[in-house]
Amino acid sequence: MTPSALRLSCGDPAVAAAVRAWLDALTLEPPAPVTLEISVGRPAADPPRAPTFAQPHLSLWTDARGARLTWDGAPAEAVLPGVEPVARVTLSAQAVDRLDDCCRIFLLGVVILLLRRVGWHHVHAATAVDPNGRGWLFAGNALAGKSTTAAWCATRGWAVGTDDTAFLASAADNVDVVAARGPLALRDGGNALLSRADGTPLPSRGKTGYRPEDLGGRWVPRVRPEIVAFASVGAAGGGTAIGSIGARETLAALVRWSAWVLFEPSLADEHLGLLARLAAQARSLRLTLGPDLFAPGDRLMELVP
């Protein structure tokens, strides 16, 4: 078996085993090794200045010396010096007590920062390949319907990579998007729309998880997007519809969904360049989701033949 390029060192055997299993489940093979060095102890106090970026649960400080990430669920910090592909992580005992959440929320953020250092740049999006072999990237905020759309794609036999966590990767003249593997996580509303109740409960998230294979699709690790769809849930009574979106708006929207890591100074040029190449490579559209999407048939293939 080839050693994972997501390397881990941790002196606590139980933490090491759990984090190793979580890393392996992501099914990511970056182009160069990155290393998580985890210790259990007391994280340093926050710097006196405000975070560079704060998003739900995570605070990020960046400057020319590197990056520092903390979690609000329990004391935990990661320090990434410069652009070295190494993260020195300190987890408190409270963070270890919540290791599932710590991995899913905090260590995923650390992995996102690490992968930037070997050329994979995060984009908050779902990925899929339609029956015609076209790659899709669905971007949007947390309530835009990405997960439900990704799950819907699987029910129509599409290949699905992720409903949430993806990485832009340069591939010769193209930009590919690599999926971090994880359950397609549906809220109750998504389960109802898909008429499903047989997924794996994800109690800490209040959601239900499915693999694409559970829904009739298959998993795809890497997608070359031909279509970028900015999804949103339409007004009550409205149908599923598409609209055009210009290049400038496409790039701005992609920036918006990558903003939390994009502003790290030493890597901003590379990340912004990949976003611009993706916007140039793909056809972009606004996708308004309506309940007719869930009627028999493949409404997206009808709208975007």
């Binding site: 290049a247 400038r248 708006e249 790039l251 701005a252 901003a268 976003l275 611009a276 916007a279 140039a280």
Partner: protein, 90 residues
Amino acid sequence: MTITYRRHPDLRLAALEGEGVVLHLGSRKYFTVSETGVTLLELLAEPRGLDQLVAGLVERYEVDPARAERSVRAFLDRCRAAGLLLETGS
């Protein structure tokens, strides 16, 4: 007094089909810019006077100088307000 303008060193520009998006790494804000704005920001990679910026637009878009100057002044005002510009007087 001659004033020269230069884009802020914290600014990053991505152009796409003529238009573009600008990031300001210091303020952590981003802006969309028109094709003309991209042209001016590319010129502003080096210190430029108002006349040089106007001449750049006239040459690129074959517009009359008075109209180009109005566009440049309006753009500089917007950039100044957004902190995208450094100004030096001599």
